[in-house]
């Protein structure tokens, strides 16, 4: 029983990271019906932004690990990836807006490979140790142990998700996003500049991916230029599992993926850590292709 609860805690904190990445997949899909395969690599770049900002802060400004340090790194990396997402959409996807969807998909794979190889060139192929942003402590609750890092990861993810929820449901831009996801034509007739909405969606999704990159750096402090591939794939499966295009679905899917992973490692074998992703993907595609919360209708948010 203790092991079960312990695995659940570990799984949910891992799942929040998948959920943050899955949100970007699902939002872009909701707006453009495009699977942005470069999204996992944006997450990787987010982790590296964090790495360099953290090093700059500690060497140039002499900060010691603290919450402030963490917030600075998080904000800088989110801003950096927001710009990256904006540039990717502008440069790679927008010129193909009227082309067949397959062209955009192939381009997405191309951008993904580009970021991975550019990453190896610029950052080096060797794994790097993500700096220690926050002093680590562990809390014991009875027989369970929770690290402060896990709590910070989960709390950050919750705050970001609530922020996203606020933007999507309470602001004019968010309402426009939902309108575009339903019908770009009708949204255009309202005076909504669809290109602006698409840019905004990429900015938002990429910033969330960057946050996931920082959180994973706290949690699992080795980063390398190919680190985005597996989590990107898992987050994609999470988005499909929740119902691609559906925001609550992406969160639910992420949490399920994280939990499934830690349970597989805990009860079966760590060999199957990644295999479980594909088992889930195949199961979803066979039994519930629209995902848990997805609807076959055109409405996507």
């Amino acid at each position: 029983m203790e092991q079960f609860v312990q695995q659940l805690i570990n799984g949910l904190s891992l799942g929040t990271i998948y959920a943050l990445i899955a949100l970007g997949y699902t939002m872009v899909y909701g707006i453009l019906r495009l699977i942005n395969f470069a999204h996992g690599d944006v997450y990787m770049v987010g982790a590296f932004f964090g790495y360099y900002v953290a090093r700059f802060i500690s060497t140039q400004l002499g900060y010691v690990p603290s919450m402030l340090n963490f917030f600075l790194v998080l904000a800088a990396s989110m801003a950096g990836c927001a710009i990256l997402g904006f540039v990717i959409e502008r440069g790679a996807y927008r010129p193909l807006r009227r082309a067949p969807r397959l062209n955009a998909l192939i381009t997405a794979i191309g951008i993904s490979l580009l970021l991975e190889n550019l990453g190896q060139l610029v950052f080096g192929a060797d794994p790097k140790d993500f700096p220690n942003l926050i002093p680590r402590t562990t809390l014991s609750i009875g027989v369970l142990t929770v690290s402060n890092i896990q709590l910070i990861v989960v709390a950050t993810a919750i705050v970001l998700t609530l922020g996203l929820e606020f933007i999507v449901h309470r602001t004019k831009m968010g309402t426009a996003m939902r309108a575009v996801s339903f019908s770009g034509d009708a949204a255009g007739l309202m005076g909504i500049n669809i290109n602006r909405v698409i840019s905004f969606t990429f900015v938002l999704g990429s910033a969330l991916a960057a946050a996931a990159g920082i959180l994973v750096g706290l949690y699992n402090p080795k980063i390398d230029p190919l680190m985005g591939i597996m989590p990107g794939l898992k987050a994609f499966v999470a988005a499909v599992l929740g119902g691609i295009g559906n925001i609550p679905g992406a969160i639910l899917g992420g949490l399920i993926m994280g939990t499934a992973e830690t349970f597989t490692v805990g009860y079966l074998s760590s060999t199957y850590r990644d295999a479980i992703t594909f088992v889930i993907l195949v199961a979803v595609l066979l039994f519930r292709p629209t995902g848990l919360l997805g609807t076959p209708a055109r409405s996507k948010f």
């Binding site: 426009a176 996801s181 034509d185 255009g188 309202m190 500049n193 669809i194 409405s299």
Partner: protein, 248 residues
Amino acid sequence: MSALLEVKDLHVAYGAIAALKGISFSVERGQIVTLIGANGAGKTTLLRTISGLLRPRRGEISYWDSDDIGKVSSSCSLSSLAPHLIVRHGVAHVPEGRIVFANLSVRENLQMGAYTRTDADGIKADWDWVLQLFPRLSERLKQSAGTLSGGEQQMLAIGRALMSRPRLILMDEPSLGLSPILVQTVFAAIRQINANGATILLVEQNAHMALTTAQIGFVMETGTIALSGPCHELLRSDDVRRTYLGES
């Protein structure tokens, strides 16, 4: 009277299929003008081209902008503008099939109608007016638009268009699929909207209602305008009576 919209020699194609083959007509300020024609004649294509959703191969769409008191300020070409810019000139489009945002509430749909505006007082006035025009919407503001009945969705689609305070409203078959009583409601609303100052370009299958409501009519046939004139004359024309009014 002065022209509000003038279309000249408009050609539109879908790939190799020509849908509009040289359409010319104009709409005078303050009128209700109707476009009737068989299925596939190109009516929807014409409205979608005016509102910027389709690009013409050839031809010109001119629009005379004016301020709120009707003073004409300038003429501009709509044929190269994106839809979201055309709305800002005061052209609204109630699309075929309504296309209300089913995933948004009724309130949010109306708010999206006013997306380009910042004049809070004006928006409030139009909001009140739309809900007075369609009281059924005011009971359903929180409901998601996808759960509305077909008639209510049509009211919402019209109300949403009005929220941009348009000077020209393009309406694509607003009576389609409505019960006779709702058709009356919708046409009554169209007359009221026009009385309130907006010019209306109305595409209709219900030729009888359209020709008795509008002042000027155009009959489209396979991408061209076959017949045009004051509606009372079209109503007397044998051609129109046989083909569109179902008389023998």
